[in-house]
């Protein structure tokens, strides 16, 4: 019988990380756009700040990959 638990677990690990990243980036992106509108010199800093939540989805991906590779 096929065990669906492992791919579902990997999907949850990746999906929730991506969801968290999306929520965080939407807030940071809006605030960043506002800041850049007033102070264009902060553009570089804002790109870095918007990119920081990407770590969440990367960690989610790593955990999902580990689940798939190590448990299957």
């Amino acid at each position: 019988m096929v065990d669906f638990g492992i791919p579902i677990g990997a999907g949850i690990a990746f999906g929730l990380g991506a969801l968290g990243t999306g929520i965080a980036q939407s807030k940071i992106g809006a605030a960043g756009a506002g800041t850049i509108a007033e102070r264009p010199e902060t553009f570089g800093l804002m790109i870095i700040l918007v990119a920081i939540p990407e770590t969440l989805v990367i960690l989610g991906f790593v955990v999902a990959a580990m689940i798939m590779i190590m448990l299957v």
Binding site: K27, A30, A31, G32, G34, T35, A37, E38, R39
Partner: protein, 354 residues
């Protein structure tokens, strides 16, 4: 309303407000022209350059400061309103900026009463509320007080209601304070009723601030009543209802005390206890200006403290409005002080909140 974008912009605008060392530099300048030169190194440069085409000296500073403040408030209103009508309805910032509508109507009414020219009246208005420049020009063009009130009523502007109701009394006594008081009362009670109906976090923030404003207005009214030895029976009509900590009963007790020091004692245990700490030497005779200044200072500080509030709420917009008003007032004090050759030490004391 999504405050992420708007509040980030407001915070960036806040970073351009003048810091205390800049104000200190302005105070240390020997005369007005060097103050203007120093101001040209700040974000006020653009408005100073525009105004310098038509004006010079203190008028130049006044016009530039006023225009800068108007453009800052209009900008905030612009990006807070957004594109959708739905969003516009939910934003509470216009409620705060309506105070400039009251200021403008009062200015026009005062001007009309003493028959000042339209140009002179328009040089004192701040079109940052609902009444834009075109509306104010039209109002200032009216021949007298009655015509101004009638025009407001024709346009269906709500501020015409308290003015129409009190016009008869005004025309009998020829006292502008009647109309001004009616406008203040209408604005504060109306805003309080609006935010009480709302019940959101933004409404709660504005409600707390409006309650403080009602208290400050009531305390000032009480002090004026004591100074002018007004009949206690008449007093209640001039007080604004709504405050919890400083209710009408307590305010009437203050009026009955008959002296400014006696009235101030009733404020012990309230946020306004600082009025009891005003040194006696700064109170000359029946003058209440020192009390009024301290109350204004309290309100400005309370407004600016909202920068520490929830970063995703109306707090930041409210705080910026007061921080900008504070900055413009301080620069005006410095510029006027330099024109009148007031010593630097006195100027530092006169600044509202640094």
């Amino acid at each position: 309303m999504d405050y992420g974008y708007a509040n980030a912009r407001i915070k960036a605008m806040k970073s351009r407000l003048l810091q205390p060392p800049v104000l200190e530099t302005l105070i240390n300048k020997p005369d007005l022209s060097s103050v203007i030169t120093e101001l040209e190194k700040t974000p006020y440069r653009i408005e100073l350059e525009k105004a310098s085409v038509q004006y010079s000296d203190i008028v130049l500073v006044e016009v530039a400061l006023r225009k800068d403040m108007i453009s800052a408030f209009r900008k905030i209103l612009g990006f807070m309103k957004g594109d959708e009508e739905e969003e516009a309805e939910r934003s509470r910032l216009p409620l705060i900026l309506h105070r400039w509508d009251i200021h403008n109507i009062k200015t026009i009414l005062r001007g009309k009463k003493i028959s000042v020219s339209s140009e002179e009246i328009l040089s004192c208005v701040i079109p940052a509320g609902d009444l834009d420049e075109a509306a104010l020009i039209e109002l200032a063009r009216q021949p007298d007080v009655k015509a101004v009130i009638d025009l407001l009523a024709t346009w269906g502007i709500e501020y015409a209601k308290p003015l129409t109701r009190n016009f008869k009394k005004y025309s009998e006594q020829r006292d502008m304070a009647i109309l001004e008081y009616a406008l203040d009362k209408f604005y504060l009670e109306n805003t309080l009723a609006t935010v009480k109906r709302g019940g959101t976090d933004d409404d709660r923030i504005i409600k707390n601030f409006i309650l403080a404003e009602i208290d400050v207005t009531n305390i000032k009214t009480v002090l004026k009543m004591i100074r002018d030895k007004m009949d206690v029976g008449e007093a209640e009509k001039f007080l604004i209802k709504g405050s919890i900590g400083l209710g009408i009963d307590k305010l009437l007790l203050m009026v009955r005390s008959g002296s400014i020091e006696g009235a101030a004692k009733y404020l012990a245990g309230t946020p306004y206890n600082f009025l009891n700490q005003i040194p006696e030497k700064s109170i000359s005779g029946e003058s209440i200006s020192e009390f009024e200044k301290e109350l204004d200072r309290y309100l400005v500080k309370k407004g600016i403290r909202h920068f520490l509030g929830d970063p995703l709420s109306i707090s930041i917009g409210l705080a910026y409005v007061w921080a900008k008003v504070n900055e413009v007032t301080n620069i005006r004090i410095i510029a006027r002080g330099k024109t009148a050759d007031i010593p630097d030490k006195d100027l530092r004391e006169a600044l509202i909140n640094v």
